[in-house]
Amino acid sequence: MISMHGQVMEKLLQGEFICTVSDEVAFGFLQQAEAADKIEAQLNQMNRTLVSANDGQVFYCGYQTLGDNERKHLSEQFKDIGGALLPLVEWLVLVQEAQGDKALLTAGKVIRLQELQLVIEDTPAFSEQLQKIARYSLFNSTSISSDGQLKQIFKRLLDLGYLLKPNKDKQIFIATGKVDYLFDVIRFIDENEKLALAEQSKVETEQGELL
């Protein structure tokens, strides 16, 4: 039987995100200062360090010092993230709108696939949007039916670790801390490049109201 320390170590070295949704026990373990110090010491031997994001709600493994190779890896990784951002964001907005403009999807929130599917199939604008999202290379769906498209998108999101499916037989999904991480990334890009995205959209809605 592998110890908790070993399990957490393995997850971190596999490049996984650890949050309360994905692994509550491991997350609680990392919140203990003593345990985290031990993990950190062990990671440091491999030029790794324990990184937490989103106000300490997500843990993952990062580089301790950045050499050329490491920077190269980060750049490549960022290219992947950058390419995936737009489809993911469009999907998030679609889910939010389909659920009646309620709160956005955040870690721990539940999506019921059937409910979502009903709303999307009933609303032509949503199904059009879904079709567009499903065609992105991130999801890469060739299906024409919205049922197939949705299933493919959810499957990909499960693979990528944005969602969890607690019960194999039920189409109920839970968002993980990685979704919150996505928000952080966009917020960072927004601040870093001074895009003022929120203001832009505010102006747009105000103009829409005027029209």
Partner: protein
């Protein structure tokens, strides 16, 4: 209560019961179209003050008191009115108190009783309206203003609720207890009503109001955060749409990399067997052949899971059959006690001409000694006679034991 009031009250309630469909229609839709209902019915309802026409040419509507009655009993979420007009009620209370005092001074006790009844009604009405206001507020907080859909609307509803809370708190300040105490004077029922009851109600309401206010502010913050993140996402989509060539700046090349993007490459990679590689075929088949298959008898375990009969009865008497050997050992112990000297076990056996196997006998004796209680063992002493095993070190072969008293 006089007969005419009873009668007209019953008439009103009967009308409500008989035309409940019309009333509920008006409640749900807000108004009622005259074409779809019986003119006679509508007229009688109008006469009873259940429906009214706000302006000529307008459609009929439900009277506000009927509406609020329904809202209260149905706990309808859309009732957003908080009754905050405490001042008017207080004025009424003060007036009735003066009536009461006057009646008491003039020794009109019957009259005073009527005024007291009226006053009780007013005070309880006031406290009830305060309580239901708070309850109403909490109901709206609990479902997070679920009756409006967009976050902007929720924010507006929240702001409205906050204004109402502030208003209610201001109104609560109108309850001046020193003034009320003076007004109540020395009359016990008045003090109980106006000071004790109202004070309790006041402190309860203000406590709840302040916690409701705190929760409202917290909710508002949450809504604003939702709004901000959803605007952020929409802004991002808009930005990407306007500039299709847009690529976020690579943070890997900046001097200080934000920890957000510092994600190390996985050292442990997910692994799987490549079944297409022919070179590995023999190794893999050897591995497969080496796999152990565990067949658990599931059927048997199913049986075990089923409930077992539990026999509840007297425990059978446990009787130890004293066999010969046991008796001999006891005799031997008695002999030792009688002689008060050491007696060899083998010697005893040959003396008594017992026909046991030597080894068995010695075991039985040792067993008998060990089987005694700790305190009884203290009385005896046992020597073991024997020799070391010639071949194995420290193995002692016991040939005889000698038991004696300590």
């Amino acid at each position: 209560m006089s007969q005419p009031i009873l009668e007209s009250g019953q008439k009103l309630l009967n009308a409500l019961a008989n035309h409940s469909d019309v009333v509920m229609h008006a409640f749900v839709n807000g108004r009622i179209s005259e074409e779809s209902h019986n003119e006679q019915v509508l007229k009688s309802l109008q006469k009873l003050g259940i429906l009214w026409r706000p302006e000529p040419g307008e459609e009929l509507r439900l009277r506000s008191h009927i509406r609020s009655l329904l809202e209260h009993s149905l706990r309808d979420e859309s009732s957003r009115q908080l009754e905050t007009n405490i001042q008017a009620r207080l004025q009424t209370i003060k007036t009735v108190v003066s009536h009461y005092h006057e009646a008491m001074n003039d020794q009109g006790y019957a009259q005073a009783e009527v005024y007291l009844e009226d006053l009780t009604e007013q005070v309880y009405g006031l406290s009830d309206s305060l309580k239901s206001g708070v309850r109403n507020l909490w109901r709206r907080i609990h479902n997070e203003f679920g009756y409006v859909s967009s976050i902007n609307a929720k924010i507006r509803e929240n702001e409205l609720a906050q204004k109402q809370v502030t208003q209610m708190r201001e109104q609560l300040q109108l309850l001046q207890f020193d003034e009320l105490t003076k007004l109540a004077g020395t009359s016990r029922p008045l003090r109980r009503l106006m000071v004790v009851h109202l004070q309790n109600c006041h402190s309860e309401t203000s406590k709840e109001l302040s916690s409701a206010q705190a929760r409202l502010i917290e909710l508002l913050g949450q809504f604003r955060q939702y709004l901000q993140s959803s605007q952020l996402l929409k802004g991002f989509i808009r930005h990407c749409r306007q500039k299709p060539q847009y690529q976020p700046k690579d943070p890997g090349m900046q001097n200080a990399v934000n920890p957000l993007f510092n994600r190390a490459a996985a050292i442990i990679k997910p692994a799987a067997i490549s079944v297409n590689n022919i070179e590995h075929e023999t190794d893999l088949s050897a591995l497969v052949a080496g796999l152990k298959r565990i067949n658990r008898k599931l059927d048997a375990s199913d049986d075990k899971r089923q409930g077992q009969d539990v026999a509840i009865g007297d425990i059978e008497e446990i009787s130890l059959v004293d066999d010969e050997l046991h008796q001999a050992v006891e005799q031997y112990f008695c002999e030792v006690i009688d002689n008060a000297s050491k007696v060899s076990a083998m010697q005893f056996m040959s003396d008594q001409s017992l026909n046991f196997d030597a080894e068995e006998w010695i075991y039985a004796v040792i067993n008998g000694y060990q089987g005694l209680g700790f305190e009884e063992q203290e009385f005896f002493e046992m020597d073991t006679l024997g020799h070391q095993h010639p071949m194995f070190n420290n193995n002692f072969v016991i040939e005889d034991v000698r038991l004696g008293l300590r």
